[in-house]
């Protein structure tokens, strides 16, 4: 079985697709593009696809990863070209490579998130970010399926840069992946709790820019 790894993006309106939506759309695209998929055995065979670290519904991303298993050896670039034609608008396949031994999720230790905060106060945002970085711990609470859950939102945040572009306050967050996974909205909630002068007005626009290895608080893409 040939294993191909793909980096893909969710852009614009397509960021409102859930992970399940993406899975259905991707599997249909595989069929439209006649990619000779390998299937699992059993009563209800499924095409061999592995997904890792899917980003939340509503967040855009440039750095999602998956792996497909093929029944016949194919030219990866031909697969990318044909499959790209079959994908819906906004779901963009960016790179493909043949797997080199390891699993597709190996080395995806951290993410860089860009958070756009239209309508927020840029100075208050920067102050909140400084206060947050000065803390060692910052407990925050998130509603989960099993009720409210309290956890530390600070330790996994390896860096914040706060700036304003074209009048829109922005945050770039470097967040290490651990359990429970700290998400950009957890950090935003913590920032507002720390510094009430900072408040998120319109829904923030989130984009995952990079996933990869964490080196000296920087995120290095795997390939």
């Amino acid at each position: 079985m040939q294993r191909l790894q793909i980096r893909y993006a969710k852009r614009g309106r397509a960021r409102f697709t859930s992970h399940r939506d993406f899975v259905r759309a991707f599997e249909r695209a595989l069929r439209r593009a006649n990619v000779p998929m390998a299937y699992s055995s059993g009563f209800n065979p499924h095409p061999r696809i592995s997904y890792v670290n899917s980003s939340p519904t509503g967040a855009a991303t440039e750095a999602e990863y998956l792996e497909i298993g093929l029944a016949e050896v194919c030219d990866p670039q031909k697969v990318l070209a044909k499959l790209s034609e079959a994908m819906p608008d906004g779901l963009v396949l960016r790179e493909i490579r043949e797997a080199e031994g390891g699993k597709v999720g190996d080395g995806l230790e951290a993410s860089v998130w860009r958070v756009e905060l239209p309508g927020a106060d840029g100075r208050a945002m920067a102050d909140a970010a400084r206060l947050f970085l000065d803390c060692d711990r910052m407990e925050t609470e998130r509603m989960t399926k099993h009720g409210p859950r309290t956890f530390d939102a600070r330790a996994d945040v390896k860096g914040i840069s706060a700036y304003v572009t074209d009048g829109v306050p922005m945050l770039d967050l470097v967040i290490a992946h651990s359990e429970p996974l700290v998400r950009p909205d957890d950090v935003l909630r913590a920032l507002q709790e720390l510094h009430p002068a900072f408040s998120v007005v319109d829904p923030p626009k989130l984009t995952r820019l990079v996933q990869g290895r964490l080196e000296l608080n920087r995120v290095i893409a795997p390939w």
């Binding site: 397509a14 859930s18 759309a25 249909r28 595989l30 000779p36 194919c74 031909k78 319109d202």
Partner: protein, 660 residues
């Protein structure tokens, strides 16, 4: 209920701007935002200015239910294939979205280009069920249009109703501008021509000008050109046109030669999850089995088949353009296609070894259907098979003309269980005309025999039978249009008694599943389906008090409907019982008598009398014509095979993605 904030009126000239930038901030705050985003594969966005006539098509329910609708899919393609017509789609938004839209002043939008619905020429609603009426009001209101047709301005879209429920649109007559009966393919193009001419001529006569042109053709019903008078006792005295050029009755549309209309060719593939994720082909339209409760079978006559060749070509192209893996072969009784054995066998051969699966919503109860089901599940699991005897006793089945012999049924299920099927589902109705407790309790006897037989032939204890029961609602244009609907208390009592009998059965009870709904929603459906124009005030009151999504049990409120009916019908001398549980006489003018489905009224009445006398009637495909009236009245004929054609295997090509 908040009425929509002032909408953005469409500019008289120029294309309306996309509403998406104003919608986008709301999407982060609603459930399942993807359903409002559009941009599905195979969706069409055209230049606004390049089209002469612009349609907004709506299935009045949530996206997940409306998107797979076959009627909307067909019209969307047919209209968009013309370069002078543009068609987009809109669905009912959920209450969380509606609230945010009202707050932000964002009007009802289309999914294709996010244009305001109020800017289109025609707003067409496809009604499979009357339970979508309140959703239509919500959509019209969110679009910023006046709720009542008489208040609409020249630039407001023409609100057009179609689909099976439009065969009696009287309950929504105040809210729609027009309705069409029957197949929409040709009439939607004809309406487009009329609207184009009227616009090109500078809109002579204003809104009434174009409506009059449509009404004069006899193929489009414009309720406001007809007056309804009532007798002192509340019955209708007469329905008559109030304009000299408008005909007394309006005829339904029937598409002949389905092979010339192989739609949908490129159905939309949604990103969001929907109720049916399959490529569906209608293998024929119409049904002449003559089941007396079945409105679909009465109003879609005659039977018109698609040939095996067209079906094969549609399946091939449809799968290629969508990437779907499941194929549904649709019709009112799919096993009745003259070449169904060849269709299923040859399609199964063609897709042998792939993951493509075929499904056949099959309702006839005979051994032949087991062969088909076996063919369709060649490689798969044999989990459940559904049959619909509809009536529990032989007597009941003679009344409704569902000719299923109990011995046949038992032989059929025996074949099913011995072929490895584990669960047989049986569908019945409760509340049929002349029904007694005994008729319903006979369902338990039948289910017991099914299990007994199943255990015998399969040698296993773990086989099951699921009994599923729906309440019968009398429908217009059927022999039961004169019948009394059973009140919900009696329906509930009968179902309770049946459940108790099944539960108490120590030998078989545990193997029999029992599913039913209470009788209350059926009463609301009955009020709407046989309603007249006075019922419109009830619908409006329900919507004003916050009711919509009536097809969803978590949103439906029987109490709200009854309270609204008490208020809105006060002083009319009629009430919900009058519309539902009252039997009608031959002489009574029915609200839909001026709408011509082709069925001869006297034939319907005679068939109603035959029902009471438990006399069956045969299918005109295999026995001489019995003069139901449709073919001569509509100038149509039965179009059935066999054609004797065969499907060739699909060519296999070398993998074009192979490494060099």
């Amino acid at each position: 209920m908040n009425i929509a904030t002032t909408p953005t009126p469409a500019p008289a000239t120029g294309a309306p701007e996309s509403l998406f930038p104003r919608l986008e901030p709301l999407l982060a705050r609603v459930g399942k935002p993807i359903q409002y985003v559009g941009g599905e594969l195979n969706s069409v966005v055209k230049e606004w200015e390049a089209a002469d006539v612009r349609w907004c098509l709506s299935y009045p329910d949530a996206y997940e239910v409306g998107q797979p609708n076959q009627g909307v899919a067909i019209l969307y393609e047919i209209l968009n294939e013309r370069d002078w017509i543009l068609a987009e789609r809109t669905y009912t938004v959920w209450p969380d979205m509606a609230e945010l839209m009202r707050g932000a002043g964002v009007p009802q939008f289309t999914l294709d280009a996010h244009r305001p619905v109020g800017a289109f020429d025609v707003l067409g609603f496809s009604f499979s069920t009357e339970l979508g009426y309140t959703n239509m009001l919500e959509t019209i209101d969110l679009a910023g249009m006046p709720l009542h047709a008489v208040d609409r301005r020249e630039d407001d879209p023409i609100v057009l109703a179609g689909g099976h429920a439009a065969f009696n649109p009287e309950a929504i007559a105040d809210f729609i501008d027009a309705a069409v009966l029957g197949d929409g393919e040709e009439i939607s193009l004809a309406i487009s021509e009329v609207v184009r001419e009227w616009k090109a001529e500078g809109r002579p006569g204003g809104r009434d000008g174009v409506l009059l042109r449509l009404a004069e053709s006899g193929g489009v019903y414009v309720p406001k050109f007809y007056d309804v008078d009532y007798l002192p006792d509340g019955r209708i005295r007469r329905v008559a046109p109030n304009r000299p050029s408008v005909p007394y009755s309006i005829r339904k549309h029937t598409l002949m030669d389905l092979d010339n209309w192989p739609y949908p060719k490129h159905p939309l593939v949604p990103l969001a999850e929907t109720v049916h994720e399959r490529y569906s082909v209608e293998i024929f339209r119409g049904c002449t089995r003559g089941c007396r409760f079945c409105q679909a079978g009465m109003i879609t006559r005659p039977v018109r088949e698609r040939s095996i060749e067209t079906i094969g070509a549609m399946v091939q192209a449809g799968l290629e353009s969508t990437g779907l893996e499941e194929v549904g072969l649709l019709s009112l009784s799919s096993a009745d296609h003259s070449e169904i054995a060849d269709v299923t066998k040859q399609l199964a051969d063609r897709y042998e070894g792939t993951n493509v699966s075929l499904s056949l919503p099959s309702t006839r109860v005979d051994a032949f259907n087991i062969d088909l089901a076996n063919e369709l599940s060649r490689n798969g699991r044999r989990s459940g098979l559904t049959f619909a005897p509809e009536g529990g006793s032989e007597r009941m089945r003679r009344v409704i003309n569902k000719q299923v012999d109990e011995e046949d049924l038992i032989r059929t299920v025996a074949t099913a269980y011995s072929n490895g099927w584990r669960n047989v589902k049986l569908y019945f109705m409760c509340g049929l005309p002349t029904e007694t407790d005994e008729d319903v309790m006979a369902i338990a006897d039948l289910a017991r025999r099914v299990i007994e037989t199943g255990r015998e032939v399969s040698g296993r204890k773990d086989i099951r039978c699921t009994v599923s029961i729906g309440g019968f609602v009398p429908k217009p244009h059927t022999p039961f249009q004169w019948a009394a609907q059973l009140d919900s208390a009696t329906t509930d009592a009968r179902l309770q008694k049946l459940r108790d009998i099944i539960r108490a059965d120590k030998r078989y009870g545990k193997s029999i599943g029992f599913r039913y709904h209470d009788g209350k929603p059926g009463i609301v459906e009955g009020l709407l389906s046989r309603g007249d124009r006075r019922v419109g005030a009830v619908i409006e009151q329900v919507w004003r008090s916050g009711g919509h999504f009536d097809g969803w049990s978590e949103h439906f409120s029987y109490e709200r409907w009854m309270t609204a009916a008490d208020g809105a019908l006060a002083g009319t001398g009629v009430d919900v019982d009058w519309y539902t549980t009252r039997e009608r006489d031959y002489d009574e003018v029915l609200p839909w008598d001026h709408l011509d489905a082709g069925l001869d009224r006297d034939w319907l009445w005679d068939d109603w009398q035959d029902a009471i006398d438990e006399r069956p009637v045969d299918d005109c495909r295999w026995t001489p014509c019995y003069d139901c009236g449709v073919c001569p009245q509509m100038d149509t004929e039965i179009q059935v095979g066999p054609t004797g054609l065969t499907l060739l295997p699909l060519p296999t090509v070398r993998n074009p993605l192979a490494a060099d």
